[in-house]
Subunit: 120 residues, 2 copies
DNA sequence: ATCATGCTTAGCCATATTGCTAAGTAATCC
DNA sequence: GGATTACTTAGCAATATGGCTAAGCATGAT
């Protein structure tokens, strides 16, 4: 089913750098060439390229070279993989608290029953 | 407002390791001592401790030592920070596609108008 | 008091990450 | 053709990461 299952490790790793998050965020607003992405970072181009290739390997962006400029665009669908994992965790947690509440409710019921029977 | 704003860099960094994700996932089901978390990893205890301290610094878990055992529990609220950032990105993207669709709709309208006027 | 348990500290090793500069290549402009 | 632009490649340095072993240190059991 999952044709290109995105690697959560690559994904979170790519997102763990503020420069890369800023670049991705910028690309979410629309495609941009490398130099435009580089400008606000104040970093050297090779450094920026490195960040971009990390984002690309994580499938968070895709790039296409036309002439001498390389255009980068976000692949927003990939973020879904991260969101999905986070949602899974929340579900696990909620299942746990649900069980806990059910258990506490049972305790409460039994306590009430005890009070009902004076011979307890 | 945000008393302990979780650092997204620390957060995503902590989540970028499969061992740590597994340990966190386990803790979402309920608290556990270090040795229980260590067991399924097959790793040496110091290594596990290292992972745990990364999770703790990212505020994804909290630990408490009683006697000679240290109990670890998840801090699920922290995951919200990650979810929030991802949601922001999705919003940025959607705002962009909305603008795009509005633009395309405008194009469509103008084209229709042109067709309406035979002198175009 | 002794011993086992459950971390904890210290330190080492290999590799990965994040930045740089210098030099190269290919496309566009004049 | 020659200069300029926009990346690209190669390679280096500093630090971070992820694993280990060996030894230390309390606590709980006998």
């Amino acid at each position: 089913m999952a044709k290109h299952d995105p690697d959560l490790t690559l994904l979170f790793q790519a997102l763990s750098d503020p420069t890369r998050r800023a670049m991705l965020s910028r690309l979410m607003e629309g495609p941009a060439p490398v130099s435009v992405l580089a400008e606000p970072t104040g970093m050297a181009l090779p450094t920026v390229m490195r960040h971009l290739s990390v984002l690309e390997e994580a499938r968070l962006i895709e790039t296409e070279k036309t002439g001498r400029t390389r255009l980068c665009r976000a692949r927003p669908a990939t973020l879904q993989a991260a969101t999905a994992w986070l949602d899974d965790q929340r579900r696990i947690w909620e299942a746990r608290t649900d069980r806990l509440e059910a258990f506490l409710a049972t305790m409460q019921d039994e306590e009430t029953s005890d009070e009902d029977r004076p011979d307890a």
